[in-house]
Each structure stands twice: as C-alpha cells, then as structure tokens.
C-alpha cells in the first residue's frame, strides 16, 4: 500500500519532466548544442573535410574572423560583399515591403467588389515555396523572352540583363522578395486595423478630420506597435530567406547579389571552408539573435501590460 502511494507520488513528480522531455531534448540537440558548437568551431580550422580521419582540427584563435573581415582575403571579399548585400536586402524589405503591406491592408480592409480576388492576389505569393516563386521570376527576368524585357521593349527600351548584370541582380532579388512578402506583412496590419474601434473614426469624422488626417492622427499611432513588430520580423526574416537565389543568379556574378546564408549554404553544399562557415554562421546568429530577442522582450512586455 505504502509502496503504491510512493510510486504514484514519484510518477506525479516526474510527469512534467517526461512530458517536456521530447521537446527539450530536441531543442538541446538542434539549437543549443549547435549554437555552442558554432562558437567553438569558429576558432578552428579543420584538417580537411568534415571528419577528416585521424587528424584533429587546428586551433587558430580568431584567425577565421580576421580572414572573413579582411577585404584582401578571398573569403573576406565574399563575406563582406554578401553581408553588405544582406543589409541592403533587409533594409529594402523593411522600407518597401512593410509600407506596401500597410497600404494593402488599408486598401483591403473595406467591403468592396472582388475583395476575395484581391486578397488572394496579394497573399498567394506568401504561400509559394521561395524556390518556386524564384523559378517563376527567373522566367519573367529572362533575357530574351522574359516579361520584364517585353514590357521595356514595348516602350522602346532595349531591355535589361536582370539576372546577369552585376548592378541589377540584387535589385531583381529584392523585387521578388517584396512581391513575396508584402501580402504576408499585410495580414498583421489587417489584424491591427480590425482592433481599432469604429467609433474612433466616427468621432474623428464628426470633428471634421478628413481621411488623411484620420490616418495620420488615428490609424498610424494606433498601429505603431504593429509597425514596429512587423519591421523587426521583416528585418530578421530577410537574413533567413535566401532560397530564391538558387533560381535568381546564384548570388552572382562575383557575389554581387549573394546573401550571407546562401554563401554559407554554398560552402556547406561544396563541403568546404568549415572554419569560415562557422565564423560566418556566428555573425549571422548574432544579428538575428539581437533582433529577435529585442522583439521578444518588447512583445512580452506589451503582453504583460494588458
């Protein structure tokens, strides 16, 4: 009898840990440990290959970081160029796709004809696999038969080499990303708009505020938090969305449109430069972590304020 009670108590004590164990162990294996290993391995230069038999990796202090930050080193050139591109790409997303998402939410937040079609039109890109979206656009941007150049030529312009001209490829990638993400950002603004009480607008209209004044004085301040939230996630997402490059020039020519995670991916796929890959990954983690942590604290605080 007593043994039975004890056993029941023990099980009750252990139960919570058993319930969270699968999730916890998987997070340890595929988030925590890899993060630590990234830090550790970024100080080493592997002998050769991933698990070069018999040879141990060589401790090189901060040499990997020195190299990837060195403009005259081949990896440094690649990293610095890709990092710069990633920043431009991320900022373009924040400053174009996010306002566009807000505009779309304002336009589509009212009853109108064909509403279902327009909502589908702006949201479906968010559903597509990045690589599928990119393959569609690789056709639109293709040199001789693409839609983009067909439009340009109809205006008498000779057409552009969208995916081959080193000054244009990044722009092409940015255009695709804006098309892909604007509808996704829109839904956060739609949710935000629906939380604003109708009476506020009626009161403002009674006070003689026109639509623009209502937007500036009412909508925008009340959407401030949503705007901040969407801006931060769009910035961090930009550091993680790179699969489109597979069909949009593969980061070339000469890394002119390469993005950081894609550069890392290329090196893993080619089984090369493990030390550099870890150093670059650490930089990437640091950037993403700062922003997601900031957003998380902000979000949590606003949750507890309510």
């Amino acid at each position: 009898m007593i043994a039975k009670v004890w056993r029941a108590r023990l099980i009750a004590r252990l139960l919570p840990y058993l319930l969270i164990a699968p999730t916890f162990v998987l997070v340890l294996m595929f988030t925590v440990l890899p993060a630590f290993n990234t830090v550790n391995d970024s100080f080493y230069k592997p002998a050769r290959g991933l698990n070069a038999a018999g040879k141990s990796p060589q401790f090189v202090h901060l040499q990997n970081f020195v190299d990837i930050l060195d403009d005259s080193h081949y990896m440094g050139q690649r990293f610095l160029r890709s990092f710069r591109n990633t920043l431009i790409f991320a900022l373009a997303t924040v400053f174009v796709a996010v306002p566009l998402g807000l505009l779309l939410a304002l336009l589509l937040n009212r009853p109108q004809r064909l509403l279902g079609i327009w909502r589908f039109a702006v949201f479906y890109p968010a559903l597509l696999p990045l690589i599928g979206a990119a393959s569609i656009w690789s056709f639109i941007f293709s040199d001789s038969i693409g839609l983009a150049n067909a439009v340009l030529r109809s205006f008498g312009h000779p057409g552009l080499n969208w995916l081959g001209d080193r000054n244009l490829v990044l722009l092409s990638v940015i255009i695709v990303n804006i098309w892909k993400q604007a509808g996704y950002f829109m839904i956060f603004f739609l949710a935000g708009l629906q939380n604003i009480a109708r009476e506020l607008y009626e009161a403002a209209a009674l006070d003689g505020a026109d639509r623009f004044q209502q937007f500036m004085g009412l909508t925008l301040p009340l959407l401030r938090r949503t705007l901040l939230f969407v801006s931060v996630i769009s910035f961090t997402f930009a550091f993680q969305t790179v699969e489109q490059l597979q069909a949009l020039g593969e980061g070339g020519p000469a890394d002119s449109a390469n993005l950081l995670l894609y550069l890392i991916f290329q090196n893993i796929a080619e089984r090369r430069n493990w030390g550099y890959v870890n150093a670059m990954t650490l930089v990437l983690i640091a950037v993403v972590l700062v922003f997601t942590l900031g957003n998380f604290l902000l979000f949590e605080r606003s949750e507890s304020e309510r």
Partner: protein
C-alpha cells in the same frame, strides 16, 4: 458621401486593382506559358495563348524528374513532421500550461531559444549533428530537427491556459486518467490552435529547400522543392522555361488548393506565426 470622399474611393479602387493585377501577373503567365506548345515563347504570336493549348510541357517536366516520387516524399516529410510534432507539442504545452515543477521557467527559457535562433541559420552544425548520428540521407534526418517546436508549444500552451480548470477537475472526478483528460478536455478545446499550427507547419515544410537539399542525396527520398531545383539547373535556354513553369505549377498546386479551401484559417494562422 461627399464628392471628395467619392473621388478617394475611386482612387483606392483603381490602386487596389492595379496592385492586384501586378501581383497576379506572374501566376497567370506561369499558367499560360505552361500550356503552350514547346518552343513557342510568349513573345511570339498571341500573348495569351499559343497556337494550341497542350499539356506537352508537363509531359516533358515529368520526364526530367520523378514528380510522383517527389510528391510522395514531400507528403511523408510534412506529414511525418506534423504527426510527431502534434504529440511532442501537446505534451510540453500541457506541462507548461498546467503543471508546477522545479526549474519550470528555466526549462521554458531553453525551449524558447529555438524562437530566437531559428534552425535555418544553424545549417552547418545541424548537418554535422545528423552526420554524427549517422542519419545522413535518411527520411528521419529531414524530420528530426523539427520534431520539437517551441512555436507550437507556445501556441498550444496559450490555448490550454484558456480552458477552464473546472473542466479538468470535473473530468478527473469522473475518473479520467491524464491521457483522457488531455484528449477530451484540452485537445478538443484547442482545435483552432491546432489548425493554425498545422497549417503553418505543413506549408513551411512543404516549401523548404535548403535543409532537404543539404541533408539528402538520394532521389528516392528528396521532396518536391529539390526536384524543382533539378529542373531549374537544367533550364538554361529559353526553350526550357516552359518546362520549368509546368514543373513550378506541379509543385505549388496543392498549397494553392489548400489555401483556397482554408483561406480564413490560413490568414489567421499566418498572423500568429510572426513569433515563429
């Protein structure tokens, strides 16, 4: 309505239509190109339809990659990922929502790290981990890192917390054991959260490319996105774009149909995925 706001309405309607059409164009042209005869690009002849409507490009796309196999692989990948996730996430969410135990907040914080360091950026070390486990080029390797989901756990923890505790107590008085309580009290009351999580999980894994590409080598287990990649790599010349467009349609159709069926749920679940 005054004349001024009537004009504003018109501007808004025109703007909506213009943006909507621009956004739709890529899809419309993809479809149009995919049903043209081979070697008949859009810039030649009628811009809408070719000399005939044909599925021959789909036939060609089918010859390049085994789409049936890739479909099956994608379904196994997203289905297997989701099924196990539903189990792990439910258990963890229940523990964090309703049980008190030593180290609770610390353990929760560790799990939340997954939201702050997305697995996508940990490619190289996860690749190494899979190799260490000897799982390279297996179906298990594709799914394993996703079987624990902090996002799903948070979503369900929130839903479970909103279940009245009296329901839980009443069920226990009726003699229900833990599993029965979870199933009949918590799960049934959190269906919207489960739908939201399922849609986000299904669509994000269906669309995934980098991880499946790196962690597999055999055609036999590779998902659709990797098959599409093969088509992209064989597409250099204009003549092949038709095939690529046909292949793209093959890959995206299931998701578009799923979206049309569950439009409202999709939008709602994506709205929650910001914390992913």
């Amino acid at each position: 309505m005054t004349g001024k706001s009537g004009a504003a309405q018109t501007v808004a309607a025109v703007l909506t239509g213009a943006i909507g059409i621009v956004f739709l164009l890529p899809l419309v042209f993809t479809i149009l190109v995919s049903i043209r005869p081979e070697n008949e690009p859009v810039t030649q002849g009628s811009i809408f339809f070719g000399s005939e409507i044909t599925l021959s490009l789909y036939q060609h796309a089918l010859n390049i990659a085994p789409w049936g196999l890739h479909y099956l692989n994608s379904i196994i990948f997203v289905g297997g990922t989701l099924l196990v996730q539903l189990f792990t996430v439910t258990c963890a969410a229940y523990a964090f929502a309703r049980l008190r135990f030593w180290g609770r907040n610390l353990l929760l914080l560790v799990i939340l790290l997954q939201l702050m360091i997305p697995s996508g950026v940990l490619l190289v070390q996860n690749f190494r981990m899979i190799n260490l486990l000897g799982l390279f080029d297996t179906r298990l390797a594709l799914m394993l890192p996703y079987w624990g989901s902090a996002f799903g756990m948070l979503l369900l923890r929130q839903a479970f917390r909103e279940v009245p505790i009296e329901l839980d107590e009443a069920a226990r008085i009726d003699g229900a054991n833990l599993l029965q309580v979870i199933r009949h009290v918590y799960v049934v009351n959190a269906i919207p959260a489960y739908v939201a999580f399922a849609l986000v999980s299904l669509s994000s894994h269906w669309n995934e490319f980098l991880w499946p590409f790196i962690i597999t080598r055999s055609e036999a287990i590779r998902p659709l996105t990797v098959g599409l990649n093969k088509l992209i790599k064989t597409t250099d010349q204009g003549a092949f774009y038709g095939q690529l467009m046909a292949g793209t349609i093959i890959v995206i159709t299931p998701l578009v149909i799923l979206f049309l069926l569950f439009q409202r749920q999709f939008v709602e679940s994506f709205a929650r995925s910001g914390i992913r």
